[in-house]
Symmetry: C2
Subunit: 440 residues, 2 copies
């Protein structure tokens, strides 16, 4: 008997994080970290559920959940074996509906919904294989990895043949790298200290705690007021000392010329990267900024909506750091495409994380990148924010500023049922109880 | 008493066009032309309704309608005077919700929903002023026009001061141009002959009819099969003769290298422009194609999602023809931004039209462009497709391959109530009757 997907459950789940200004930055003043969450159910009880999601920040999450349901209609009735046996074909099937494509294409709400469904399918594939997703990926052959990717718009930068060649060259040393990452974990940096809504005392205290906890790279949110940013960068640099890395993140609030001016006013604090200086759509703008602020790196990607955008950022030398997002890209397949493009252009990938469960997902992508794609840890680190991990069944484990390798089968994407119930919007107790009701 | 918006009505309306393969191309094999439709209602019966929409092609239209409703929440309770008195501020208010912005930003379903609401507000503004929208725009002063635009990400290509200067220089001759366009109409071209689903006989017949009706520019859909395209281009060129313009449109199905090869195989048929050769996100790809197929023009824009994308296409010399879309850009304001950018880069704007009501809207934008922005008709023409105009209260009037100037107050955006009822999805008779039910 062939097991088939019979239901694509979608849940709008929101955490009232705006109550404490966790996650506040120059663009997002008061986010409620949220997810459009998907559970794939099959008609055979021996088939595990596949859990996936896309990350949002509050209002409008119902649109992403609705999009996941619409995309999910294309999954119902498919054989589980065929999905997990051809995840490249599955991705192209999901993104290949011409009517739905019109709503993007390959961007916005419909792409976020696709991400949630694709991530759920990878969780299912990992569980069926008895492997965490990073290991499932790393054990694939070069041709199988290349087949995960939709090459239609990428060949002018990288052909599948070139990708296969790159992957073949990285087969040597794979076992050693896997052993190394299992022993030492994957490097991380922290954003927990530097949210824009925190006052100077809290900033200084959190920077001090970060140093004591072993972090050697710290990121601050900037972009609302330049005098404030100078003061905050000075506090952070004083506390972390001259040898740790300080990164800044403007969350897209600046124009191209403004970003250059902003950077110049902060350069004395020795900035490692300047993240999201301007519109995520502006490849040429980022390239202009990168030329003018070097050797500081321009970093972007959490809002780069698909592999075609990353292709251009890399072709144009517009970024020194490539920040993939596991949920804005349409799931694992498009992240793999971007890892390949970045490796071919010799640009380090430092994924966007934080939010709800982004840390849980991107650790798999970066470990896979190290073991099988770039083969390097040089200048690579995964963002870490200490929020909301308690809701996950298999939360990230971070120790000594390193992500420890996840071992459980699947994509570490499962939120506990009691959390799904409690934070479901608007019916969960977190929102329907008086405290929640007025805080919206 | 101040009139306020009390209701933002949203309607999912779909026309079963897939039954005849009208609108078929290499990417969209069987579209059902649709709209997420918005009506603004005020609490004062003396205030007219504002009608607007965004265009979609079938499945997923409910997502765009839902997005319009979510964005519409930001309109409820606003004073009508404040909306129409500060349409630039209104646009920035609609696009300034940080939670909703996360779902784009400025792209995809949330941007489509915003377009529908913005277009409805402009219809309302035109009706209140007693002017068609093109005239409302053309009568604004340079500073007022510049204030319609969100300049945050555009200043590296064009500053508001430069835009004002450009508009001031075009004030001379405005009255003559207005008189000229009222007398002669705005040039148009036809796509009605060349849908991919039509057979050779129908193609030849429709091309012949187009010539007889006075059309001097004809567009064919290509991109599915190169041999078919060579045969179809030959038929079209034979019928229309050597002196009329032949354009081709691949609707994004090709990669960069493929597009160059495709063009080379069709170049002997003397192609005026090659439209949407590849991904609409690929600025650098279009630039590469443009360099290699000149003097044929690369044309794109119906899927360019915001002014930041158009900025880059223009900065990079990636397009010879700028094809704005009245409903993918977030309404009139972002179209005005793009008209200014195109004029500053001396690239003609030839709007995308067809679909549902796109002709009705873009005629206003192009007439405004001629009267007040570019001041030129050189190489400019608006797409025309003879579909679905009968559903509009103030349909376009095309005569001798020219759009006649719309005179009724508003944005020509109102669909008749009986059509809204009949084609409402899924409850309208067009879909709930047996014929419709199985055709989905």
């Amino acid at each position: 008997m062939t097991a088939r997907i019979t239901e694509v459950e979608t849940i709008d789940i929101r955490f009232p994080t705006s109550r404490r200004l966790d996650g506040s930055d120059a663009m997002q003043a008061a986010p409620d970290y949220s997810a459009a969450y998907v559970v794939l159910h099959a008609d055979d009880p021996a088939v595990p559920e596949g859990h996936g999601f896309t990350f949002t920040i509050g209002r409008g999450t119902e649109l992403a959940a609705h999009a996941a349901a619409v995309v999910g209609e294309r999954v119902k009735g498919l054989a589980v074996d065929e999905i997990v046996g051809d995840l490249g074909g599955f991705w192209r099937h999901l993104t290949g509906d011409s009517h739905l494509r019109w709503l993007g294409p390959d961007k916005g709400v419909i792409h976020l919904g696709t991400a949630a469904v694709v991530n759920a399918a990878w969780d299912l594939a990992g569980k069926l294989a008895g492997k965490p997703v990073w290991k499932l990926l790393a054990d694939l052959g070069p041709e199988q990895i290349a087949d995960l990717v939709d090459w239609r718009y990428l060949r002018d930068a990288l052909t599948p043949e070139q990708a296969i060649d790159l992957l073949r060259r990285k087969r040597q040393g794979r076992a050693e790298r896997e052993a190394h990452i299992r022993a030492h974990g994957y490097p991380a940096y922290t954003t927990s200290a530097g949210w824009l809504g925190y006052d100077d005392d809290k900033l200084a205290r959190l920077c001090r705690e970060a140093v004591e906890a072993g972090w050697d790279s710290v990121k601050l949110k900037v972009g609302a007021d330049l005098d404030d940013d100078r003061r905050r960068c000075r506090i952070a640099r004083d506390v972390i000392g001259p040898d740790r890395r300080l990164m800044i993140d403007a969350n897209q609030v600046l124009g191209v010329e403004e970003a250059v001016v902003w950077h110049a006013a902060l350069a004395e604090f020795d900035i490692w990267w300047f993240e999201e200086p301007t519109s995520p759509d502006d490849v040429l703008g980022h390239a202009a900024i990168q030329r003018r602020i070097a050797p500081t790196h321009v970093a972007t990607g959490e809002h780069a909506h698909n592999a075609v955008m990353f292709k251009q950022f890399l072709q144009q030398g517009a970024i020194g750091v490539c920040q993939i997002d596991a949920c804005r890209l349409a799931g694992v397949n498009e992240a793999v495409a971007t890892l390949l493009l970045a490796a071919a252009h010799d640009v380090p990938v430092c994924p966007h994380a934080g939010g709800v469960g982004l840390c849980e997902l991107v650790q798999h992508l970066s470990i896979f990148d190290y073991v099988a794609v770039s083969g390097s840890l040089q200048d690579r680190m995964v963002e870490y924010v200490d929020h909301l991990h308690e809701h996950f069944a298999d939360p990230v484990r971070v120790s000594g500023a390193r992500y420890l390798v996840p071992e459980a089968p699947g994509y570490s994407s499962r939120i506990r049922r009691e959390s799904l119930r409690h934070y479901a919007y608007p019916e969960g107790a977190a929102w329907s109880a008086p405290e929640g009701a007025h805080a919206r």
